[in-house]
Amino acid sequence: MSSYNLTHLAQLEHEAIFIMREVAAQFEKPALLFSGGKDSIVMVRLAQKAFAPAKIPFPLVHIDTGHNFEETITFRDWLAKDTGSRLVVRYVEDSIKAGRAQEEKGPNPSRNGLQTITLLDTIEEFRYDACLGGARRDEEKARAKERFFSHRDEFGQWDPKNQRPELWNLFNGRKNVGEHFRVFPLSNWTEMDVWQYIAREKLDIPSIYFTHQREIVNRNGVLLSKSPFITLLEGEKYETRTVRYRTVGDSTCTGAVESDAADLGAIIQEVASARQTERGTRADDKRSETAMEDRKKAGYF
C-alpha cells in the first residue's frame, strides 16, 4: 500500500474498536446493552473484533419490556449463543410486579419510560460501572449532544449542561462510587454507515428488517403492528400491508414503513432516498419536542 488513507467506514470502525478497548481497560465491570436491533448487532461484531482472538470480555444485557417483536427476541438468543456471550435479561414486567414501576394507561401504553427504572436497577444489581450502547448522534437532536463517554451520577442522571469536555482521543472515565458511565462507540456513525457495515460484514439481522406481510393499524400516521398490547380505538381496524422496520424498539411505539426491500442492497437504496428520519417512525419521540432529552436526563439509555 502506498497511500496511508482510510475510508470513512474504516475510520469509524477503528475509532469504535479503540473506544471499546478503553472501556475494557478503564472500567471494572462493563456491560454491553443489547436489544437485538441493528445498532447493537454492529456493536457485538465490533466487540468481537476489538478483543479477538479472546472472547468479548463483557456480558450482553437486555432490558426486556415484554412488548417486543418476537423475531428480535429469537434473534437475540441466537446471537448470544452464536458468539458464546453471556446474556443477562431483566424484565420491566418484574419491576411492575415489584411495585417499582407503574404501567401507563391509555390505548397503547408504552413501557419505554419504565425501561429506565429496570435498567438502573440492573446496573445497581450487577454493579456495572460502564454500559456500552449503540446510540448514534445522528438519530436525534439530543443525542447529537452526547459524548462518547457519558457520565451518569449516582441516580443515573445525565446532565447535558455539564458534560465533561472530550478532547482528542482522551477519554476520562474516572468516577466516584455509585456513579457510572454510558459509552457510545457508534456516536459518529450514521444510519447509512450502519447498513453499509452490516452489508460489508455480511451480518445476520432479524427478519423484520426485510419486507414482509403484517397486520397493521395506522394510528396518527404511525403504522403499528397488531399485538396483544394495543387496543383498537373506535373506527380503527387492522389491515394487511407489505412492510418492514427501519428501527426496532417496542412494538407499541415503533412504526413500520411500507417497503418491498427484500435484501440489504434494496434497504441501502431505500435508506439513501429516505425523506423521513429513522426515528420518524417512533411514537415515543413525538410525545414532546424534548422527549429524548427528558428521558435521557432521567437515566434512559
Binding site: I17, P53, R137, I268, A272, G280, E289, T290, E293
Partner: protein, 432 residues
C-alpha cells in the same frame, strides 16, 4: 427555500460509498455571524435534512412566533439552548456528498464556552471561521483563529459572510482579507483560504454566486470536498500506545499475548524492530492483526493488535516505538493549556494527567505566563489561570510521559488534566 428533495441514490451505491474519505471540521464565529444558518444551509443544500426534521423546526419556529425558518433549531438540540436561542454545547452533525463524508462540530461562539470550541477543534482537520462583512475582523475572530492555531488545525477557511449586506463589494472583501492576513501572519496556520459568502441566500456556499463575478475561487462546499487531508496525519514517527493486553487463555490460543492499541503515528510493519518505552526493552513485530484479520503493516489511526517475537514486559500506558526514532521520555513537561474549570488553577496543585493511554499524578510547578487571547500578547503581571484562560505551564509528572511535541503529533503531544476530587476534566494541554 424550496421543499427538500431526497439525496440522489447513486451517491450511495456500495463501491462508491465504501471508497469515500472523511473530513472533520468545526465552525467558529461570534454569536450572530450566522454559523447555524451556514450549517443549516450546507445540510439543506446537500439534501441532508429530512422532511420530518424540517416539519419539526417549522412547527417550532411557528410556535415561537418567528418569521423566518429558524435553521439553528436543527443544531440547538437541548431544551436550554432552544429557550435561550444560543448554542451551549458542541453538537455533531453528519452529511455526505458524492465526494466525501463530513462530521461537523458545531461549537458555541460565546467566550464563556471557549472550552467547547477547543473540544470541537481538537479532532478537526479544518476550521471555518466566519466574519461578518459589515464588522470585519473583530476580537472574536482573533480569539477563534488563535485557538485554531493553538490546536494546530491544518486548514482554515475564512468565510466573509453577509456579503449581501455590503452590496457584494469586492473592495470590502479585499479589505477584510488584508486585515485578517496581517493578523494571521503572527499565527501558525499552514493553509488559509478566503471565501465571500451569504449563508442566508446561499451565495458561494454550495454553488458559485452570480452576484460576485469578481471572485474566482471555488464555493465553500467544493473547498470542503477537495481540501487535501492525506498529509494531516503523522506517518513518520512510529508510536503505538498500548491500551490493553489480550490473553485469550484458551486451548486454541494458549500462548497468545497481543498488545491492543491504536497507532498514534508512523507505520509499523511485521518484522520491524521495536522498543517498548519507558522500559527500553526491544523485540521484533511477529504479527499485526487488524479488524478483519492479519495485515502486513499498520498506520495511524488504525486500531490493531501486535504480537512480539520475545516475551517482554509491556502493559497499558507503555508505548511501542522504533529504535531509530525515539519519543521524549520525561517527567518534566512544558505545555500550553486551556483551562476549563470554574475552580481556578492552583499553583503547585496536584492533578491527574491523562496522556495517550497513561494516567498519572502530576504537579503544576510553574505558571510561565498567561496569554491575552485578544491581543495574543503575554498578560503582564497576571499568572492567575481561570475558566477559559490559556497559558503556559511547567508540569512534573509521577511517571515519565512518552511524548512528542504537539506540533509534531496531535496524539502523543496532547493531554488532559483531571481534578482528583471531582474527577472533572479541568484542562486541555499541548506539549511544547
Amino acid at each position: 427555500m424550496t421543499a427538500s428533495t431526497p439525496a440522489p441514490a447513486h451517491q450511495h451505491t456500495d463501491q462508491h460509498y465504501l471508497a469515500m474519505d472523511l473530513l472533520r471540521f468545526t465552525t467558529a464565529g461570534s454569536v450572530d455571524d450566522g454559523k447555524s444558518t451556514l450549517i443549516g444551509r450546507l445540510l439543506y443544500d446537500s439534501k441532508s435534512i429530512f422532511e420530518d426534521q424540517l416539519d419539526a423546526i417549522e412547527r417550532a419556529t411557528e410556535q415561537r412566533g418567528e418569521e423566518h425558518l429558524n435553521l439553528s433549531l436543527l443544531t440547538d438540540g437541548l431544551r436550554a439552548e432552544r429557550e435561550q436561542g444560543i448554542t451551549i454545547d458542541v453538537a455533531y452533525r453528519y452529511f455526505a456528498t458524492p465526494r466525501r463524508k463530513f462530521i461537523v462540530a458545531d461549537t458555541p461562539g460565546h467566550i464563556q464556552y471557549t472550552r467547547n470550541m477547543v473540544t470541537g477543534a481538537s479532532t478537526a482537520n479544518l476550521a471555518i471561521i466566519l466574519i461578518d462583512a459589515r464588522k470585519g475582523v473583530i476580537e472574536q475572530t482573533c480569539r477563534h483563529s488563535f485557538i485554531a492555531s493553538l490546536l494546530r488545525i491544518p486548514h482554515v477557511v475564512v468565510c466573509v459572510n453577509k456579503m449581501d449586506l455590503v452590496d457584494y463589494s469586492e473592495a470590502r472583501f479585499n479589505e477584510i482579507v488584508a486585515s485578517y492576513s496581517e493578523f494571521a501572519s503572527r499565527l501558525e496556520i499552514p493553509d488559509i483560504k478566503f471565501i465571500p459568502i451569504s449563508a442566508l441566500h446561499g451565495d458561494n456556499v454550495v454553488d458559485r454566486s452570480a452576484k460576485m463575478p469578481w471572485y474566482q475561487g471555488s464555493a465553500l462546499l467544493y473547498t470542503l470536498e477537495t481540501v487535501y487531508i492525506g498529509s494531516d496525519v503523522n506517518h513518520i514517527d512510529a508510536r503505538f500506545p498500548v491500551q490493553t493486553v489480550i490473553r485469550p487463555n484458551t486451548d486454541e490460543h494458549h500462548d497468545f499475548r497481543g498488545f491492543a492499541g491504536r497507532v498514534a503515528g508512523g507505520v509499523f510493519k511485521v518484522g520491524d524492530e521495536i522498543v517498548s518505552q519507558p522500559s527500553g526493552l526491544t523485540s521484533r513485530i511477529k504479527s499485526i492483526q487488524g479488524p478483519s484479520g492479519d495485515i502486513a503493516e499498520a498506520f495511524a489511526p488504525m486500531s490493531v493488535v501486535m504480537t512480539l517475537e520475545d516475551e517482554i514486559d509491556v502493559s497499558r500506558g507503555d508505548t511501542i516505538t522504533k529504535a531509530n526514532n525515539p519519543p521524549h521520555v520525561t517527567q518534566d513537561v512544558e505545555a500550553m493549556i486551556c483551562w476549563f474549570s470554574d475552580k481556578k488553577l492552583v499553583p503547585n496543585g496536584k492533578y491527574i494527567i491523562r496522556h495517550t493511554t497513561r494516567e498519572a499524578k502530576s504537579v503544576i510547578k510553574a505558571v510561565r505566563y498567561k496569554v491575552n487571547i485578544n491581543t495574543l500578547h503575554k498578560a503582564e503581571g497576571d499568572l492567575e489561570i481561570g475558566m477559559n484562560d490559556i497559558g503556559r505551564i511547567q508540569l512534573r509528572t509521577a511517571v515519565p510521559l512518552i511524548s512528542d511535541s504537539y506540533q509534531r503529533n496531535r496524539n502523543t503531544g496532547s493531554f488532559i488534566l483531571i481534578d482528583e476530587f471531582s474527577n472533572a476534566t479541568v484542562a486541555a494541554g499541548m506539549i511544547l
